[in-house]
């Protein structure tokens, strides 16, 4: 009896972390959808937005105002990444964006260290700290907010993509950039939009997890590899697939840590990743592309 509660607790806690991976992975998908590129410095984007939001709070900005402020900052950073690191490579139809976004991450990390200091700082939250007991499992209100936040943001954006005209433009540019331009859709603007949204999603992730993980220059470095894994295993165009894979990976890590010892917790995830890529390179939920010559 005790055992199944423990397993359930492990799975639930792990899944919640997994949802965070999924949210960041979702940000990857947004930019991949329009430009077949992802921001390798996304972790730094999460971190910078979290720090910015913390500064807003320290300057006395009320909590409910801080959220849109932080999100806006995320959008701005996303646009900067697009302009400085991605646009050139896209025009040259190359993959220089991989290196350039890594460089962005490097710069962002160094800047954060110097502006906000190297230490991890607590992030205040208006939510109560005491955890709730649901069927013998401890869940804190913070963790619940993470679920709500992640699913909420993703649903909103998915709705936007499917129901509005702008969303259709997304799909068009993703499918065939030149044809979309011929139809009067500015590919550049659409890609800018996707990076802006991706930045916003990253900022949201930062605001949601900061109360749990604290804010520091290295806060997102360990998250980013996990988020990558989730994005690629699910497939970079799989939409909600990331949620499933994220939850799975989070729970798997938790259980591995418990049964095999915490040192090995990352291992099954990594092995699965390499295998998944070997068997289905386009992702478990991804679409298979046909080569055309």
């Amino acid at each position: 009896m005790m055992n199944s509660t423990i397993i359930a607790q492990m799975v639930i806690s792990g899944s919640l972390m997994g949802l965070v991976y999924a949210l960041i992975a979702y940000g990857f998908q947004l930019t991949y959808a329009t430009s077949k590129s992802i921001n390798f410095g996304q972790g730094e984007l999460v971190m910078l937005s979290a720090f910015f939001s913390l500064s807003l709070l320290n300057f006395g900005v009320p909590y409910w105002l801080m959220i849109p402020g932080g999100l806006l900052f995320g959008v701005l950073l996303g646009l900067v990444v697009e302009r400085a690191c991605v646009r050139l490579s896209l025009e040259q139809k190359g993959e220089g964006w991989i290196l350039l976004t890594i460089i962005f991450g490097l710069f962002g990390f160094s800047a954060a260290e110097n502006i906000w200091g190297r230490d991890d700082r607590p992030f205040p939250t208006p939510l109560p700290a005491d955890s709730l007991q649901v069927f013998g499992i401890n869940i804190s209100p913070l963790e619940i907010s993470v679920v709500v936040g992640v699913l909420g943001v993703m649903s909103l954006i998915e709705l936007f993509k499917r129901k509005t005209l702008l969303g259709k433009a997304f799909e068009a540019v993703a499918a065939d950039r030149d044809a979309a331009e011929l139809m009067g859709i500015s590919a550049t603007h659409t890609i800018m939009l996707s990076f802006g949204l991706s930045g916003m999603v990253a900022a949201m992730a930062g605001i949601l997890i900061s109360p749990i993980t604290t804010v520091g220059p290295t806060m997102a470095s360990s998250l980013i590899l996990k988020a990558f894994s989730v994005a690629v295993v699910a497939g970079l165009d799989s939409g909600f697939g990331v949620v499933v894979v994220g939850i799975f990976l989070g729970a798997l890590e938790s259980l591995t840590s418990f049964y095999l010892g915490s040192g090995w917790r990352e291992a099954p995830g990594l092995i699965l990743l390499i295998l998944a890529l070997a068997i289905r390179p386009n992702g478990v939920f991804g679409k298979i592309t046909i080569r055309k010559v």
């Binding site: 492990m10 792990g14 401890n138 749990i212 840590s257």
Partner: protein
């Protein structure tokens, strides 16, 4: 500084010119000023520089008829072994260096100190506490050692942690540690101490976490379900806070006892009220128990514009290390690193520091007994407790004892 840069230009065509700066005592202060261990490194450095500033303000170290000022050479080893080795090589190649103070990471002591020892450069390790930093020399059987340590090594700390658990009548404990050198050797030290102290504690769970991990649920559940009555922890930094917060979430109301790093601000701040009651051995508590200690604390706050020292132990040890080094210079009547080492091994005059009044802290190196080059003993270390954002004396009796010691 410019000379140093020219030597190391890409073309590498400049021959190094030894400089005869007979008017200053050159001391290098090295440690991680960036990376995860930075709070300890910077506190150590800042504490040391505070002492140096005070000495220089009084004119310098008395050597013969003159007073020589101290010139500081700062080097950041970034907590990386490779960098640490290079820094050590660089310092070892300086012909006029009187000594080195610093190092936080045991790995750097292991990869870099050999270059200093080879050239006979005197070094005082502080605050690195891993036993390996000194046992590497006893294992190698060196007859003459220029490396000293000024910190409560993990052997002392683990003994105190285990003692505390036994005193509180616990029988089942969990050991949680991080995946670094520090955490793993800490675990080994704890296990050894449990054996030494009569096997009165049963370790029901041993768990590890990685640097950067935020979710400790798995490890804590393992401890909880095994019935642990206390958690013994060895790690650095923010992950410790994650453990405390995790324990609160899982409603584990058992004490957390662990290594000295629990006094760092990034644990206390990030765990908030979940840190209250955490016990950790400390060589220095940031309480103004005597005028001299108050002077140090206030001086630190003012000079570095903080309301609380990020790592009080590192700062105080850095401070006192400089005072002891200066005393050795005075006794040796010279800036020659070899003469300073000899003086350190037989320091005649007591040194009034903020941790203690130091009477003959070191003696001639004996490879079968590392304590000859270790300054701290068990009674120099007390149990500290985290309370309301500060580290205070866990036992009032200790406060009285330490006050007496410093005043002597």
């Amino acid at each position: 500084m410019i000379k140093k840069a020219l030597i190391t230009t890409l073309l590498l065509t400049v021959i190094s010119v030894p400089v005869f700066a007979a008017d200053t005592i050159k001391i290098a202060i090295t440690g991680p000023y960036s990376g995860g261990s930075a709070p300890m490194g910077t506190s150590m450095r800042d504490g040391a520089k505070l002492a140096i500033a005070e000495i220089n303000a009084a004119g310098g170290i008395p050597v013969g008829a003159k007073k020589l000022k101290i010139e500081v050479i700062e080097r950041d080893d970034e907590g990386k072994n490779e960098r640490g080795a290079l820094v050590a090589q660089e310092l070892a190649s300086m012909s006029d260096l009187s000594g080195v103070i610093g190092t936080v990471n045991t790995g750097i002591a292991l990869s870099g100190d050999k270059h200093l020892q080879e050239k006979g450069i005197t070094k005082i390790i502080t605050p690195a506490a891993g036993s390996a930093s000194m046992t590497q020399w006893s294992k190698a059987g060196v007859k003459d050692l220029s490396i000293f340590r000024f910190a409560a090594h993990d052997g002392i700390q683990s003994a105190m942690v285990v003692e505390e658990a036994i005193n509180e009548k616990f029988t089942k404990v969990a050991i949680i540690h991080d995946a670094t050198n520090y955490g793993v050797s800490g675990r080994d030290d704890l296990l050894e101490q449990i054996k030494k102290q009569g096997n009165k504690l049963q370790v029901v769970a041993t768990e590890k976490f990685n640097i950067g991990d935020k979710d400790m649920t798995a490890q804590l559940l393992s401890a909880k379900s095994a019935g642990a009555q206390a958690v013994l922890i060895w790690g650095i930094g923010p992950e410790l806070a994650a453990v405390s917060n995790g324990m609160a979430k899982l409603e584990m109301k058992i004490p957390l006892i662990g290594g000295w790093t629990l006094s760092m601000s990034n644990y206390i701040d990030n765990a908030g009220k979940n840190s209250n009651g955490t016990l950790t051995p400390q060589t220095f508590i940031e309480e103004p128990i005597t005028p001299r200690v108050k002077g140090f604390i206030d001086g630190y706050h003012k000079t570095y514009n903080v309301t609380r020292i990020p790592s009080p132990v590192s700062a105080a040890q850095g401070y006192d290390a400089v005072l002891i080094f200066a005393a050795a210079v005075t006794q040796a009547q010279s800036g020659d690193t070899r003469k300073i080492k000899e003086a350190l091994e037989d320091l005649k005059a007591p040194v009034k520091g903020v941790i203690s009044t130091w009477k003959h802290p070191f003696s001639k190196w004996d490879p079968s007994n590392e304590e000859t080059h270790e300054a701290f003993r068990r009674d120099d270390t007390v149990m500290g407790m985290v309370k309301d954002g500060q580290v205070v004396f866990a036992n009032d009796a200790d406060r009285i004892l330490i006050t007496k010691k410093i005043s002597k």
